[in-house]
Symmetry: C2
Subunit: 327 residues, 2 copies
């Protein structure tokens, strides 16, 4: 069994300086510590303690070998997406990150593929940058947030971006980011991402379905982090409503049929939930995701397939990932 | 098999006039048409076309007989909850609705039970009114919204309300209402409730878990509409985070254990999803819900249990409902 982990993250070891003092407060930089430890700073604020697994490819390869991972599809730590900066500054970060990912892949091209980033806060600029991402950096696709400053991916303003991703045969991986409804979380602040990442991801997926994105771009390949989040819980009710109301049928295609053309990672932390994803979306649409090397990661991602049939294992360990990535 | 439908709605045939012109624009009234048809108005605005199944108990009993329903647990059409009115005016509506439900039950006390309403926008007033709801109207519990003007049920300001519900042995049924994130829905307006009712319900359920409500009120009985919405999709990740972070363990109990003390209706429109609810929450925590007589209803709710084991059918058709309601 070849194990391809489609959901894991990298951070470049260094960042260029902010070109403009106006963006310095939200500009990423790295504060390196002892023994490979580091802190990603956003301006003067510590964002996350990380270590050199985020950029040290020999160390990463050793851990992949130890955990039975053949290929990692590298994507930016989502906070680097920088949708909150003016687009031209986010473009500077995007090009730096995309080049860094290309360099990481070059260390062991048989063991890595990459998803880059583009400044989605300017959809036209984002669409134009996809060519460079493919041509200059050889990346297989792009990671985008589950929302762009509150705008869902199914919003028509992103049509040009998805059209270009389809034209260039680039995969689009949608990852939870700055979720909605943080004011509705009770408990310590660390509660929010555990409750709301699945919700934001599910809303993003629903928006592509009800926005008709896949009807407009039938060859587009879109995958979701965290098993599509809450989409599996929404889908039967949305399908019921769609069957009930001709206005919905006139506006978008069967939600379940559309959902079964999208891809999902299996980072759902639970064998019963994975079973339910397979029943809902089909074993042909799910690939492995680990969130390596961050704290909420799934160790030994291939082991999550242990209870499945050989055909399901083969599809979910590598075949679906290759189809999603166009490899 | 005795079939108890815990999730269905009523609307009184008439409403008192608004006591204050300041609230008239959002005050419910009924515009009756021919042949039992009617429109619920909010001020001068049509809210929903309904018919006399909402208040005509003989017609309701005939349809229950035809659809194999032994007992309906009547609750207000959620828009009547009136959290957006000043509390004293919402109290007027609440008392009128609770009295109307008591009158509907009196038509056939062996065939009906009731969940009333209280003005949750004033938690102290809501808590005080629970006594009257039980003593004067003989109701088994209360329906509340999945949020109260944006505040989730797990917010500490509702502690006094839940304490009183526990003390009085009243069931609390939480129903989706005016959901979050409507601005993130793409497609016709009717798309929103199909996507967002499960999300708002899931956020409400998560708030009771992470807010520690059941730790504070261990005998409290809380049930959720629409199978708890997206809670089943959130729970494995929340449990994973809780195991990972001691700060969460210090603040609230095991999410999965807490979720297995809550109740859920089975209004999820899909046999595979019902199976997943049973695997996640346990067959002891799920009761029937139909949304009768509204358009998104499940006809013949008892039939949704056809594929289950006899023990699951017995529990979910009536035993769990009796336990939830304290009957």
């Amino acid at each position: 069994m070849t194990v391809i982990d489609v959901h894991n993250h990298v951070v470049p070891a260094e960042f260029p300086a902010a070109a403009d003092p106006g963006v310095a407060a939200r500009w990423p930089c790295m504060r390196h510590g002892a023994a490979g430890d580091a802190t990603v700073m956003m301006g003067d604020t510590a964002f996350r303690a990380i270590d050199d697994r985020c950029w040290n490819m020999p160390r990463r390869l050793a851990e992949m070998d130890a955990e039975g991972v053949d290929v990692q599809v590298l994507s930016p730590m989502p906070e680097l997406l920088s949708y909150w900066l003016p687009a031209e500054h986010a473009l500077t970060i995007a090009r730096h990150v995309n080049e860094a990912i290309a360099g990481m892949i070059a260390v062991a091209p048989a063991r890595f593929a990459g998803l880059g980033m583009v400044p989605m806060q300017d959809p036209d600029l984002a669409a134009r940058e996809l060519s460079a991402l493919k041509r200059d950096h050889g990346l297989a696709g792009v990671e985008i947030g589950s929302n762009v400053n509150g705008i869902v991916p199914g919003d028509p303003r992103f049509d040009g971006f998805f059209a270009e991703a389809e034209r260039l045969d680039l995969a689009v991986f949608i990852h939870a980011l700055h979720p909605v409804a943080t004011e509705r979380i009770v408990g310590p602040p660390r509660t929010a991402p555990f409750v709301l990442f699945p919700i934001d991801t599910g809303i993003a997926a629903a928006s592509l379905i009800t926005g008709g994105t896949l009807r407009k771009y039938p060859k587009l390949r879109v995958g979701f982090s965290h098993g599509g989040g809450v989409l599996a819980s929404i889908l039967p009710r949305l399908q019921f409503g769609w069957r009930l109301e001709t206005m919905l049928q006139d506006s978008f295609a069967s939600p379940i049929e559309t959902a079964r053309r999208l891809f999902y990672d299996n980072l759902v932390y639970d064998a019963a939930t994975q079973r339910h994803l397979i029943a809902t979306f089909g074993a042909s649409q799910i690939f492995l995701g680990s969130d390596y090397p961050f704290v909420a990661r799934q160790a030994r991602p291939g082991d999550t397939l242990a209870e499945l049939s050989p055909a399901e294992r083969e599809a979910m360990s590598s075949e679906n990932a290759r189809r999603f990535l166009g490899l």
